[in-house]
Amino acid sequence: MTRFILRRLASALFTMVAASLIVFVLVEASPGNVARKTLGPFASDEQVQILYERLQLNDSLIVRYGRWLGIITGLRADPLQNPSLGLKFHDRRGDRYVGNFGFSTMMKIPVADVIWQRLANSAALAGLAFLVIVPLAIAIGILAGLNAGRPLDRAITTLSTVFASIPEFASAVLLMSLFAVWLGWLPGTSPLQAGGFWPIYSQFVLPVTVLTLYVTAYVARFVRASMIEVMATPYVRTLMSGVVVTEVVFAYPGLGRLLLETALFGDIALIEAATLIAVLIAVATQLAGDIGYMLLNPRIRFA
């Protein structure tokens, strides 16, 4: 059993390292871009050239990847904070700590200052949705199972197909038109700012509904196609994709909207941080799911 867990841990670690390599290659493949993006559009070509040399961006991709990994894991000092560069980048945590993703060029602050608050917001949204989705999915599954082949089962199947055909942004637009514009019962945006007309809890209703509709239907279809085991993992990964879109539609201050904004802006440090955190969550749930499944299912434990 310990061997099983250790093997799973090793494979999760491998996945993380490989995924981080993919992220790094995608974002930082062209070194000239890195210096330019760090300094922003108003820096002169000479300044970009100087930073290019100081950061040794001339080195091979693999060397730069190793350095980058060293900075994130706190083994190396972040060169951007070196006073001799004159960038005035300052991090109150110092230049060497675990989870040092560097500086956001879009927000002019350390990535660590913004990312964890956003992650907490996203976790709140996803957690609330999860609390609705899981009992709902179990109830639907039991209902369909007890009535297998009868009209109720077929109605559930058809409904899940219909709802799985509605992209989150489309259901968000339809629900917003109905409940926010036409009836005026709920707020159409969820900026999570207190003191406005709408209390905070009301700002969660529409986003959670949108997520619930899509994720429940999507997973119900997959389970029916029996392509995957009935486990927590598919929920989490679908939920994470859904969270990005939902946050954008409702202007919700979460990690998903941050990822989109930084991707559109070209803020390399924040893109890397947001993507890596998303993958880490996916890998961690997969690991937890595998180990939990093993503990519950003795056939796997002794296989």
């Binding site: 494979s11 491998f14 996945t15 490989a18 995924a19 993919i22 992220v23 995608l26 974002v27 082949g149 199947t157 058809t158 197909t161 219909v162 799985a164 055909s165 509605i166 992209p167 989150e168 942004f169 489309a170 637009v173 339809l174 917003m176 038109s177 926010a180 514009v181 036409w182 159409g188 279809r221 029916r224 196609a225 392509m227 990964r237 994470m240 994709s241 990005v244 879109v245 954008v248 539609v249 998903g256 990822l259 989109l260 991707a263 559109l264 070209g266 893109i271 947001a274 993507t275 998303a278 993958v279 996916a282 890998v283 997969q286």
Partner: protein, 299 residues
């Protein structure tokens, strides 16, 4: 579409005449095919949108990018503009009609490429086993660990939004899942007698995979293709909605919803009509997937 589509075609090509061998075996399946309401509705929805895409110049009353100053004050649906006019006062009905073309070109083309890549990876992994399997499975695991939308956003943001880059992104996002499916199917099929027979004849591995295994894996692959068409059309819509779709002014359903969302309080129809277009097309593919699955399970 090899399975049911060929059955329909062959049955139509041989009207009544003398009974052919093999026809008797095909009959019940063909009849079931016609009886399946789910499949019928799905095919009708897809056929509708394919017809709209092909006949776009005949159906659309205006060009997709013509701005109508006559609709400046009143962009609401009217006899001139059935679905109203968008924020730039372009005819929404015409844009939806023309917008069927890019979706129905990009999604199938991208998924076809993704299938070629996925089948190549999954089949060699399942057939050869050993280190090939280990390597392919690792790559698949890593790519599947990314939440799909995150991978799409990072890819398109770094490659730039264009039809070709969307195809590349769909290949990277979809082929690992296809590979995993094909790997499983191959492992199951390679123990069958016809594969053993082919090995006895000393056929090459390439021949066995392509001629013996692939045709026998077509059932699940077709269902998977239809389901993936649905998800891919949703993904293309989402990319358009996030501002990472086809560059403007090309009519793009997701992009149309994006442009209309800030004006939802006054002109909700601007966002609702293109949303309905995406929903009906996706539903078509999802219903076909459901229907084909029911046929396979004999429900």
């Amino acid at each position: 579409m090899t399975g049911p589509a060929t059955d329909t075609a062959s049955a139509a090509a041989r009207p009544s005449a003398q009974p052919q061998p093999g026809q008797a075996a095909r009959r019940p399946r063909f009849r079931k095919l016609r009886r399946s309401k789910v499949l019928g509705i799905g095919i009708a929805l897809i056929a509708f949108w394919v017809a709209v895409a092909i006949l776009a110049p005949l159906i659309a009353p205006y060009g997709p990018n013509i701005q109508h100053t006559t609709a400046l004050a009143n962009p609401f649906p009217s006899s001139d503009h059935w679905f109203g006019a968008d924020p730039l006062r372009r005819d929404i009905f015409s844009r939806i009609v023309w917008g069927a073309r890019p979706v129905l070109l990009v999604a199938p083309a991208a998924l076809f490429c993704a299938n070629v890549v996925g089948i190549a990876i999954g089949m060699s992994a399942g057939f050869y086993g050993g280190w090939v399997d280990e390597l392919c499975s690792r790559v698949i695991d890593v790519l599947l660990s990314f939440p799909k939308i995150v991978l799409y956003v990072v890819l398109i943001a770094s490659l730039g939004p264009s039809a070709l880059n969307i195809v590349v992104a769909v290949i990277l996002v979809s082929s690992p899942g296809i590979g995993r499916l094909v790997r499983g199917l191959t492992i199951e099929l390679k123990t069958r007698d016809f594969v053993t027979a082919a090995r006895m004849r000393a056929e090459s591995g390439f021949y066995i995979m392509l001629v013996e295994i692939l045709p026998n894996a077509r059932g699940p692959l077709i269902v998977d293709f239809c389901m993936r068409m649905g998800y891919t059309i949703i993904a293309i819509g989402v990319l358009g909605f996030l501002g990472l779709g086809l560059p403007p002014p090309n009519p793009d359903w997701g992009g149309m919803v994006r442009e209309a969302t800030p004006m939802l309080t006054v002109y909700p129809y601007m966002a609702i009509f293109p949303s309905l277009a995406i929903i009906t097309l996706v539903m078509g593919f999802n219903l076909v997937a459901d229907g084909l699955q029911d046929l396979d399970h004999g429900r």
